[in-house]
Symmetry: C2
Subunit: 120 residues, 2 copies
């Protein structure tokens, strides 16, 4: 596989759901944060309704993670998962100076290839 493509979630045709998590990391606890981020990234693909994830963080600590799910109930179940709730608490207390979490229903999607076909 082209390594440049590995960063993309291979989501199916819409509709599906997206969680947009935009965050500003605090300077605190980079090791603990890194371990938890890796653990959650390993855990999510085993959850019911998980469709993929895309994530990037810049050198200034601002990052955006997109997680894609089949349904709102799949998102709710992920939110309730014990390991994830622990991460949410530490995120509040320690890891994030600020964050925005937005939950959205994806209605249309294109890739570079399909956007050409659609005349974009």
């Amino acid at each position: 596989m082209d390594p440049a493509r590995d960063r993309f979630a291979r989501t199916p045709s819409p509709p599906y759901w997206a969680v947009m998590f935009s965050s500003q990391r605090s300077p605190e606890d980079p090791e603990g944060y890194g371990r938890m981020a890796a653990a959650l990234a390993d855990l999510a693909p085993g959850q019911p309704g998980f469709l993929g994830m895309e994530s990037v963080r810049g050198e200034d600590g601002f990052g955006i993670t997109l997680a894609f799910w089949e349904s709102e109930s799949a998102i709710a179940a992920w939110k309730r998962l014990a390991a994830h709730q622990h991460a949410q608490r530490l995120g509040h207390e320690r890891w994030y100076d600020e964050f925005f979490l937005r939950i959205a229903r994806v209605e249309r999607a294109y890739t570079k290839a399909t956007s050409t076909r659609e005349g974009l």
Copy 2:
């Protein structure tokens, strides 16, 4: 203002619309790309229905940009804008090895402060 907060779009209460643009930059034309990205970032806030933008790109060239709009028709008008169409063509031909564009209706949103109140 807290400089860490500057990277966040101060979006209103949902519902509103989001364009999620995930992209892998090619190694080509960094100067032209940088000029166009800056020009579009200047242009978007003047467009009808624009609510804000958040963007980050990593050192490997993978990036995510979120643009928030009041309505689907505002997104469609932005897509048709001449300067933006020119950028879309160059994006296809030159700047992006791959991209995903997803259009979604934002149903719920929280910040660090409001997620605490909501019991997350």
